[in-house]
């Protein structure tokens, strides 16, 4: 994928950049719509579950040091399984990026470009990731390492700037729609930690692969904190996200920030930071898809493939007929896809590979 290896900090920033794209689209709205006042409780609960899963992931990966999921799939079921798993992950990365891109651009059309066709805005993002990919993966990683702290600062500013508008009593009733909805149906929100998928392919790219556990734990805790901060802002501020949908929930919160009559309209700055971060997410997804494809087919030059995947993202993002369709895909299909591919498929392969390893070890 790249000659240069990724440092521990950059790896954490890379996984965190993924969650930014979810947060800026409909994720906070989905959280609040489904778990109501128990949203924060649900976030803490699923963070703990994901932490447990990630510890299991690190334990399972211990027997395969420096190998990624493709290598492990090959060990488990040969080239056939490797190709199936690789294809599924490529499809997941490309489709998810396309749908997120479409929804994000629909939001931009409403906010800033009322008379511009969304295709041109999507095209702008496509050109930006095409240019980024020409500069190499390291440049994307470096950009993500710079941009994510800015995103975090913007989230903290969003929280602090709106403190006057908060009503902390909105965390009551504690159980929201009930214990079953919060702790059982609320498990669907585990998809918010979709950045975990990228960890499956990180080990061979790391400068210090032995620090994968540290990277994974920091990523999960930071993702949980980031989601808590952003969703908390919306929960404490608005009472309408439980019944009414807004196209970009965090943008709505940003519109309320005012420091006197002089410092107003901060949302433009926030949106600029989110756009840059979104470009990083697209670039990372595209790179990972290309990396898997190259590894599957043992290709040496990834640049021509990269352009094909970029065009594929562009084409798929145009498929939904309108925002209603793309929003439906994001909130009702994509979240299950994240759970199925990110958690169930990946962990199943790791568990089965560990069984096989033990069996092979026993025979030897």
């Amino acid at each position: 994928m790249t000659k240069q290896k990724i440092s521990t900090v950059s790896a954490v920033m890379l996984t965190l950049s993924i969650v930014v794209s979810y947060i800026t689209s409909s994720l906070p709205r989905t959280f609040i719509n489904e778990t109501k006042s128990a949203t924060l409780l649900n976030i803490i609960y699923i963070t703990m579950i994901v932490l447990f899963i990630i510890l299991l992931f690190c334990k399972l990966l211990k027997k395969f040091p420096g190998l990624d999921l493709l290598d492990i799939s090959k060990f488990l079921g040969g080239n056939t399984l490797r190709n199936i798993v690789g294809t599924l992950f490529i499809a997941y990365f490309i489709i998810s990026s396309s749908i997120m891109l479409r929804n994000f651009c629909e939001g931009l059309v409403v906010v800033y470009y009322p008379l511009t066709n969304y295709i041109f805005i999507i095209l702008m993002f496509i050109i930006s990731i095409a240019l980024t990919n020409r500069l190499g993966f390291q440049s994307t990683i470096n950009t993500a390492s710079i941009v994510f702290p800015l995103v975090l600062i913007s989230a903290i500013l969003l929280f602090c700037g709106n403190l006057d508008n908060f009503s902390f009593r909105k965390i009551y009733p504690v159980l929201g729609d009930g214990a079953y909805n919060t702790f059982v149906l609320g498990l669907k929100n585990i998809g918010a930690f979709g950045g975990i998928c990228y960890l499956y392919f990180l080990p061979p790219m790391l400068k210090e692969p032995e620090k994968l556990k540290k990277i994974a734990i920091i990523s999960v805790i930071s993702t949980g904190f980031f989601i808590l901060l952003c969703v908390g802002t919306l929960l404490f501020m608005f009472s309408f996200f439980t019944t009414t949908d807004e196209i970009m929930p965090l943008f709505s919160a940003a519109r309320h920030i005012e420091f006197g009559t002089f410092f107003q309209r901060f949302e433009s700055v926030f949106l600029l930071i989110w756009i840059i971060s979104f470009c990083c997410y697209l670039s990372i997804s595209c790179k990972f898809a290309t990396h898997i494809f190259n590894k599957m087919l043992n290709l040496s030059d990834m640049r021509p493939i990269l352009n094909i995947f970029i065009i594929l993202i562009f084409a798929i993002s145009l498929l939904p007929k309108n925002y209603a369709v793309s929003n439906f895909v994001e909130t009702h299909i994509y979240r299950y896809l994240r759970i199925a591919v990110g958690f169930i498929l990946g962990m199943t392969i790791l568990i089965l590979a560990n069984f096989k390893k033990r069996k092979v070890g026993d025979k030897h």
């Binding site: 009503s167 009593r169 009733p173 309320h256 009559t261």
Partner: protein, 407 residues
Amino acid sequence: MININNILTKIVILVLVIIFISSFSASYNTLNLDNSAFVVALGVDKSEADKLELTFEFLATSPSGESVSETKPVLNSVQCSSITNGINIMNSYLGKKVNLSHCKLIIFSEELASEGISNEVYSLVNEVQIRPSANIVVSKCNTKYYIENSIPSLESLIPRYYDIFPNTSKYTGYTCDATIGDFFNALICNYCDPYAILGGTTNSENESSQSNSSDDSTIKSSESPITGNRLSQNIGLAVFNDDKLAGELNAIETICFLSIKKEVDNFLVSIPSPNDSNSKIDIYLTPNSTHNINVSLVNGSPYIKLKLDFSGKIYSMTRNSEYLDINILNSISDSCNNYLESQFSSYLYKTSTVFESDINELGSYCLSNFLTTSDFNNYNWLDNYKNATFDVEINTVIDSGFLLTQT
């Protein structure tokens, strides 16, 4: 030697630039300063034949795009079936696009507000250009008349005046910084009701409105003893039950509302003198941060206990005042407590029994009594608020006066 790749790259870049210029120029033209007419206030009134009458107050701009420092407003009105249609018609009339991104004031007439304004508020919130911080006013008079007479006498720019006047709520408590964002939030909320600034006008420049108030603090818009160059007034609060206007609060009731919401920094009250029931003492009160509100359910009805703490200084000074005597200060504190307790109780019972409207979001303090949202929804707080019992406890600590402590 000609490099084909270089030429191809340049052609692709050129084509892309042309595509982007043509695609983004439409949005640029729409939002361009030269093509925009900036609205600073929007009046929504009811016209004949059940239509809406929209009044737009525009900011006149010079050819260079700078605002003209004149206070004379440019007003245009249109009769229409909906706000969106009205804006569209106005676009056509002006030959420019109406831009609401600097609209600071949205005024609804009392008549329209009584019939319900949820459709209009939903439409306005759906408009990207409208800021959630735009203030919402219910005018006791025709909205066009209100806007025409809202020319500031001390400011050179109208938007500046619209920006500043709601801030007086912080140190007078006589009006409120009610925004359309809060209004929309309360409209959808299942434990609170919306409110707006109460606006109105005096009859003429040299004549105050007919005020029946015996007390200075019971004044409200259109019923105040003010005379001045500007005829419009913003005193009091318009209380809504769901989306319909339920009633009005006067100045002292607005102070009670703001104190419970912790949105007033200081305010002045005139309390009966402990020594002479016919005379009054002016006290400048500062709410402490130790407000305590507790809501419990007793026999299915809300029992609301409010404990409010204030510290105050004596403003009014007369001959033979002894404001260093601890006994006198205590008696003034007691008098102030009694006065405030009666005002707060009267205000709270008025909102619950007369208006049946929980504008103070007291329902949010009740949320912790329920385990699930459905339990709370089944209880139906807004319907039960009228059965609420209030227990108000005021604790005021009065210090001596400002520069003079005794005369």
